[in-house]
Symmetry: C2
Subunit: 86 residues, 2 copies
C-alpha cells in the first residue's frame, strides 16, 4: 500500500477515526500505528460482509483492494509510542 495515497483517501475516515488515527467517537477504534495486515483484514471483512457495523459496512462497501492497501499503509505508518504499564 501507498501511505501517501492513503492519507488522501483517509479524509473519508477522519470524522470518526481522525486523520491522525485518534478516535473521535466511543465506538470507533484508534487506528494510529495499528498493525497493517490487521487493518487490511478488517476492511476486507467489512467490505465482504464477514464483519458488520452500521457505519463501516457502508464505508467499506465500494473500496478497491488498492484503497484498502493504501489506507492500511497510511494508518499503520503513524508512529505511536507506548508507555509500558509499570
Amino acid at each position: 500500500g501507498d501511505a501517501a495515497a492513503g492519507r488522501k483517501k483517509a479524509v473519508a475516515c477522519q470524522a470518526c477515526h481522525g486523520l491522525d488515527g485518534v478516535s473521535k467517537l466511543p465506538d470507533a477504534p484508534n487506528l494510529s500505528g495499528q498493525v497493517e495486515p490487521y487493518l487490511v483484514k478488517a476492511l476486507g471483512e467489512f467490505r465482504d460482509g464477514t464483519r458488520r457495523n452500521e457505519v463501516m459496512s457502508v464505508a467499506a462497501k465500494d473500496l478497491t483492494d488498492s484503497d484498502i492497501a493504501d489506507l492500511a499503509a497510511y494508518y499503520s505508518s503513524i508512529q505511536i509510542d507506548v508507555v509500558p504499564p509499570s
Copy 2:
C-alpha cells in the same frame, strides 16, 4: 471496569496482544490505549458470535461481563503517544 484486575486477566491475551497491548502477530491488533467502549463492544461481539475470529471466538466465549469490563479498562488505560503525521 477494574484495570488492575484486567491486568491479571490479560495474561490470557498476552501471547497475541502483549501485556502492554503491542501486538505480537500480524493478525492481532494493538490494544494499547484503545478506546474502552470499543474494546467492550468487540469482546461482547466475539462472545456472542456477532463477530467471528478463529482465536477470539474461543478466547471470548466464557468471559463474564466483569472480565470484559476489566480487560477493556486495563488495555485502554495504557498510555500511548501519537506522533501526528506531518
